[in-house]
């Protein structure tokens, strides 16, 4: 389970001025649930996800993953979490097998267990054809699958994916979300953000819309769209406009 309560994050801008990127955000993602975090550029999505992934320390508020607090038990959070972002890369000179092996060792997996996990991930994420090819020679879709496999190598109960499809074509994006659907079916907690609303419109259980650091709407697709024509995208724009008003 991912739980966020009254989360605040301030940055220091030029001249020492404080800028509040996240301002009192609260939501939760239950086990076996996939929640979409929506918002424009600079809305605070990435900052929120980075706090959940322990990459940033919150100024105030609470964020927990599988019961571990990001502030007091970041190591516990990292053991329970897989994280993939749009900017996450894979080392060009290593093979996917070496990437997974290195990541697994960092998570304390022994050689026997690690071998089994790599084989299982290679099968479920279809990595077999390029498992021993240097990552520098892989397509962006293949690299993103390696990245996802790396996030899953320690079998975490929760996943945070920050715009995981931004570098993928439509086929790759569809394949990725099919994989995520399978992971959700396994009981994993998934928090995902994307700008391509049509990709997740019918895949997420709930949505949280964030604008200027604050939550402006939250609920299922039906609750957000209501009777409005145009689906989630139109609902999103209406929410943003309403939130800004």
């Amino acid at each position: 389970m991912i739980e966020v309560r009254e989360l605040v994050k301030e940055y220091r801008a030029g001249g020492g001025r404080a800028v509040r990127a996240v301002d009192g955000v609260s939501f939760s993602v239950a086990d076996g649930e996939m929640v979409g975090l929506l918002g424009g550029n600079g809305a605070g999505k990435t900052t929120t996800m980075r706090i959940v992934a322990t990459l940033l320390v919150p100024t105030a508020g609470v964020a927990r993953v599988a019961g571990h607090d990001v502030r007091t038990d970041p190591i516990g959070v990292r053991r329970s979490l897989g994280y993939v972002s749009a900017t996450t890369g894979v080392p060009d000179r290593l093979t996917p097998r070496e990437v997974l092996d290195s990541s697994g060792r960092l998570h304390g997996l022994d050689r026997r267990l690690l071998g089994g996990r790599i084989a299982a991930l290679a099968e479920s994420l279809d990595l077999g054809g390029f498992l021993d090819r240097p990552c520098g020679r892989l397509s962006s879709g293949q690299r993103q699958r390696v990245s996802l496999a790396r996030a899953l190598v320690h079998d975490p109960p929760a996943l945070v994916l920050d715009e995981p499809t931004s570098t993928l074509d439509i086929v790759g994006a569809r394949h990725l979300f099919e994989l995520l659907a399978g992971l959700r079916a396994d009981g994993r907690t998934i928090l995902v953000s994307t700008h391509r609303l049509h990709e997740i419109e019918h895949r997420c259980d709930r949505f949280v819309v964030i604008d200027a650091g604050r939550i402006v709407a939250a609920g299922t697709r039906a609750e957000l769209v209501g009777g409005r024509p145009g689906g989630l995208e139109e609902a999103f724009f209406a929410t943003i406009a309403g939130g800004a008003a």
Binding site: R12, I75, R78, R79, Y83, G89, R93, L106, H107, G108
Partner: protein
């Protein structure tokens, strides 16, 4: 519930190190530049320098062997003396050391002799007046006037050759005189030496004399190249990960940041060690080949076993250097966003390492006292000592290395100090690196911050730590050039040094970085009320004066008169300035000017940059130490550094304690004015007796100085208490 798997610690560190090393090994260009190129570079360097050296040696020997002496004689007995010398020259046996290969003599009139010698057509002109031969054959001493040519290439050998010829003539005359009085020839020859063996040619001896200098230069080169081995892996380790977008996967690894950094360090350290080994092997092999190109005699010192031992000893001395270089490169590249930015930050590192390593070449700098603890300078000095001690013991005469060999136990202590110091410095640097890697502002700062370039940034209250380091780097560079720009006269040189190395960089930075001058330079009263402010200033003056006397006493006790020629020259110039003029200009020049300029620089800009606006106790302590270290290094002379470091600590504490620069300026001025006043008021007899004192200052004056320190500290503490109380108000 399943217990969590243990993570972090050495398994995590080794996993990161293994991953980075695999990446490095698969980068062929990096492997070639880091490990293979040194193997090709030393032979090329050695070949070119050896060929030049060999040519120079051959030329030297050729000139030595083809030595000839041309003499012109004039005067009434010139013909007779020339004949006697000609007969001597035809005899091959009994020629003394320095006898030329050929001797020619001409008898001319004085005018011609003058012209010949003026034109440089002969080496010497000897005027032989009438009666000279009679004097020789009698019992008198013949005094002859000899004029050497000033127009020939300056060569002491002409004089040596002439002396050798005349010694032979004198020996012949002595023997004739002994025979006349019936005494045996052995009377004037109580000892005869029959040499056997082959003494080395003079050029070989000359090269042997400069071998220690060549060795030292190679050690500095080795230090630099070893450090360059850390460059590529360090750039790739953190900045490269950021550029490729792979850093996030390490930052969310379930282990402390220090584990990640130590893992990275292990990989960089391994490559640096491999670079060191490759360089050492290349140097050893090149040296063994070098011996074949050089004439016999030099190669005696270059046996294969000795070379291997020297290589191993150098590795021992440089293991710490490799660790510090790897950690330093990681630290400075940790704040970079890209590989290109990281490369730029490494340029000052090269300069720093070159300056520190090169300092070990200064005559008199040895691996003694605290020097082994200084990174790079200490490593080179320790390696020098190790090699000198080893070659001295290998040759068993203590002279083959040309260096003053230290006792083995002393060298072992120096090695231990160097290794412990390297361990401590490396550990500190890695902790700083862990802080920098996890720093949110550095990790997620946007490209606009990174590409700001030389544009003026937004106004700030005090400079950042990087801006502080930048001013120190610029100041050091300016100080270096000021040495060349400054006129030879002492007073103008002092003014140029303060203007070029202190004021100009400070003014440039202050204008460029748009800081709040009042905050940065602590331009405020040292206490709330005037009495307390006066107490702070008086206390600072007492502290400054007391610090000088106590520092001088400690320095005299430590160095026991063993100061470098540069330090003696500096002291002599100071005394000359003070005794040669009136006291007011001397105080202004030596006390007030440096106090104002250097306090604005170090306790103003550098301290506020390192400490921040309202520092916590730990950061304040680190900031005081950092600026004091820079202040000490700025004073260049090693003998002065411990004292200037201590003074820097006190001045830094004064500034932070009173939140005003004024007490530091007053204390600095009092510190510098104390010797000026002492020298000005002393009699010549006092100065002479002071020069003779080697054990230390009179105990009475030291006791007074300690009293000044105690009273001064109490006054400052009093003023500080009132300020603290005031600052707690609304």
């Amino acid at each position: 519930m399943r217990p969590p798997r243990p993570t972090g610690g050495w398994p995590a560190r080794l996993a990161i190190a293994r991953r980075d090393l695999v990446e490095f090994v698969r980068d062929r260009r990096a492997v070639f530049i880091t490990l293979v190129m040194p193997m090709a570079m030393y032979p090329l360097l050695a070949l070119s320098s050896t060929l030049g050296l060999r040519t120079a040696m051959l030329e030297l020997d050729r000139r030595q062997e083809s030595r000839r002496l041309d003499v012109v004689f004039s005067g009434a007995d010139a013909e007779a003396l020339a004949t006697r010398i000609g007969a001597l020259a035809e005899r091959a046996e009994g020629r003394p050391e320095g006898w030329p290969e050929t001797v020619t003599g001409r008898v001319v009139d004085p005018a011609t002799a003058q012209a010949v010698i003026d034109e440089g057509a002969a080496d010497a002109w000897i005027d032989v007046p009438g009666g000279s031969l009679a004097a020789l054959d009698g019992a008198e001493t013949l005094a002859l006037a000899v004029r050497l040519s000033a127009f020939r290439p300056p060569d002491r050998r002409a004089k040596e050759s002439l002396l050798a010829v005349m010694r032979s003539l004198a020996d012949e005359v002595r023997l004739a005189r002994l025979r006349r009085v019936g005494l045996p020839a052995t009377l004037i020859e109580p000892l005869r030496l029959d040499f056997s063996g082959d003494a080395p040619a003079s050029s070989t001896a000359a090269v042997r004399d400069i071998l220690p200098a060549i060795t030292s230069a190679v050690l500095v080169l080795l230090a630099l190249l070893t450090a360059t081995g850390a460059f590529y892996p360090a750039i790739d380790a953190i900045a490269g990960e950021k550029e490729r977008g792979t850093i996030e996967t390490l930052l969310i690894a379930p282990c402390p940041m220090l584990d990640v950094v130590v893992g990275k360090f292990l990989a960089v350290f391994a490559v640096t060690l491999a670079t060191l080994a490759a360089n050492a092997v290349s140097i050893a092999l090149t040296s063994s080949v070098l011996g074949r190109f050089l004439p016999g005699g030099i190669a005696v010192d270059l046996r294969a076993g000795d070379l291997a031992a020297c290589g191993l000893l150098t590795l021992v001395a440089y293991v710490g250097l490799a660790a510090v270089a790897a950690a330093l490169c990681l630290t400075v590249t940790a704040a970079a966003k890209s590989a290109k930015e990281a490369q730029n930050t490494l340029t000052p590192v090269v300069m720093l390492i070159a300056a520190l390593a090169g300092a070990a070449l200064v005559p008199g700098v040895e691996a003694r006292r605290w020097l082994p603890a200084v990174p790079f300078a200490g490593h080179v000095a320790v390696a020098k000592s190790l090699l000198a001690t080893f070659t001295a013991s290998a040759a068993d005469d203590g002279r083959s290395s040309g260096e003053a060999a230290q006792p083995a136990a002393q060298v072992a202590v120096a090695v231990a100090i160097s290794l412990v110091s390297s361990l401590v410095i490396t550990s500190l640097l890695l902790r700083v690196t862990a802080q920098l890697v996890g720093d949110e502002e550095i990790l997620f700062r946007g490209p606009e911050e990174a590409t700001r370039g030389l544009g003026r940034p937004a106004p700030r209250s005090v400079p950042t730590a990087w801006q502080g380091a930048g001013l120190v780097a610029l100041g050091f560079t300016a100080l270096w050039y000021a040495q060349g720009l400054a006129p030879p006269e002492f007073v103008p040189a002092l003014i140029v040094q303060q203007a070029v190395a202190v004021l100009a960089p400070l003014a440039a930075f202050a204008w460029w970085q748009r800081v709040d001058a009042r905050e940065t330079f602590a331009l405020r009263r040292p206490a709330a009320s005037w009495p307390q402010a006066v107490a702070a200033v008086v206390g600072a003056a007492l502290l400054g004066g007391g610090l000088f006397v106590v520092g001088a006493a400690l320095a005299l006790a430590t160095w026991r008169g063993e100061v470098s020629p540069e330090a003696k020259q500096f002291a002599g110039q100071l005394v000359g300035l003070i005794r040669g003029g009136t006291i007011v200009p001397a105080v202004l020049l030596l006390a007030v000017m440096p106090a104002v300029c250097e306090e604005l620089f170090f306790r103003g800009w550098v301290l506020s940059a390192a400490a921040g606006r309202r520092p916590a106790a730990r950061r304040a302590g680190l900031a005081i130490v950092a600026q004091a270290a820079a202040f000490a290094a700025f004073h260049l002379l090693p003998e002065r550094m411990p004292q200037t470091f201590a003074v820097g600590l006190v001045l830094g504490w004064l500034t932070l304690a009173t939140r005003s620069l004024l007490p530091a300026i007053v204390a600095h001025a009092a510190h510098n004015a104390t010797p000026v006043l002492l020298v000005a008021l002393a009699t010549d007899a006092d100065l002479e007796s002071a020069v003779e004192v080697r054990g230390g200052l009179p105990p009475g004056s030291v006791a007074v100085a300690v009293g000044c320190l105690a009273v001064g500290a109490a006054l400052v503490a009093f003023a500080r208490r009132t300020r603290d109380r005031d600052s707690e108000g609304p």
